[in-house]
């Protein structure tokens, strides 16, 4: 759905731009291509790593790790697994719902979802290219710490703490 909107918006803007100024539009497309080519090696590395990680950590494996009464250890595991993996939201949320049904705690799921979205260990090669290593590490560390807070608040809100 959001992909259709994205394409719709892009296509209309591109058409409008082309109508207004053909030369500028071609320049924009050239820039787009160059920017993409510039980051392509890093993207490809990330894709391979994500492929391997997803193969290693299927939902059944994760639910064993953060299952019923996994407690603090489960929380830590959820934080780490979420930080390392990169799963698209439309897979992550149904998976999380499945894990909950399988007996995982809301606190652990909160930790998993939060680090999944905010912390990206495998995407460091891409992030580093634009932000430098130092800022990349700092941003991910702060996001990791914040995810602990998120997990605790979720635990409180869902009556687990």
């Amino acid at each position: 759905m959001s992909t259709i909107v994205l394409y719709g918006v892009t296509a209309s803007l591109l058409a409008f731009s082309f109508f207004k100024d053909r030369k500028k539009t071609l320049q924009a497309l050239r820039k787009a291509f160059k920017a993409l080519e510039n980051i392509l090696p890093e993207f490809l590395v990330v894709i391979l790593l994500v492929g391997l990680l997803l193969a290693l950590m299927d939902p059944a494996f994760i639910s064993r790790l953060i299952g019923v009464d996994s407690g603090i250890l489960g929380l830590v595991i959820a934080l780490v697994v979420g930080s390392i993996t990169l799963i698209p939201g439309f897979i992550a949320f149904p998976t999380a719902a499945m894990l909950l049904q399988g007996g995982a705690g809301y606190m652990q799921i909160g930790a998993f979802i939060s680090t999944l979205m905010m912390v990206g260990v495998v995407t460091i090669p891409v992030e580093k290219k634009y932000f430098g290593l130092r800022l990349t590490v700092l941003r991910n560390s702060l996001a990791f710490l914040f995810s602990i807070v998120v997990a605790l608040v979720i635990g409180l809100a869902m009556g687990e703490l």
């Binding site: 698209p88 999380a96 634009y130």
Partner: protein, 180 residues
């Protein structure tokens, strides 16, 4: 030719490693390549329009306009705009980094770029609706309520922690990268 090989060196190394994984454990290796193929499909779908939009932004929106709306001295308006742009986005977080790069080039304030990244990572509207449906309103709303201040705190802490020179160097590097 050797320049291309040098740029794709890490990719080739990882590819070889994955090949070794495949030889050691056929099933795991097959699954890994299958997942990588799936990710490439997703990337091919989401990434090109983002870069085309970036190209259009780069060509059509003058630096002064971006500075006025989101640069130093843009105040609350800049923060709000960064939040809305990030939340309206589509695609995984790694798609946001090239956008941040163009923002740097256009003179967007660093803390606003961080707000944008934070919003992109975790308060995307389509994702929120999905979360609401999968995990229930109590979970999703609690997370949203803590994420909004959290994103701001992370952005402002990070911007305050990093020396101005580091930020200036980074902006310069991104400017050169986009011009080359």
């Amino acid at each position: 030719m050797s320049k291309i090989i040098k740029r794709y060196r890490v990719f080739l190394i990882v590819l070889v490693l994955l090949g070794i994984v495949f030889l050691v454990d056929r099933e795991l290796g097959r699954l890994a390549f299958q997942n990588a193929g799936y990710t490439i499909k997703e990337m091919l779908l989401i990434i090109p329009p983002i870069f085309v939009l970036l190209g259009l932004l780069d060509v059509w929106v003058p630096r002064e306009t971006m500075v006025r709306f989101m640069g130093e001295g843009s105040g609350a308006k800049g923060v709000l705009l960064a939040f809305l742009l990030g939340s309206a986005a589509a695609g995984p977080l790694y798609g946001a980094f090239p956008v941040a790069s163009v923002f740097m080039r256009k003179g967007v304030k660093f803390s606003n770029i961080l707000v944008f990244l934070g919003a992109w990572s975790t308060t995307k509207i389509p994702m929120f609706l999905f979360e609401l449906e999968s995990l229930g309103p109590r979970f999703a709303l609690t997370r949203l309520a803590i994420n909004i201040p959290g994103i701001l705190i992370i952005a402002w802490t990070l911007a305050a922690m990093v020396p101005k020179k580091t930020i200036d160097d980074m902006y310069r590097k991104n400017l050169e990268m986009n011009n080359s």
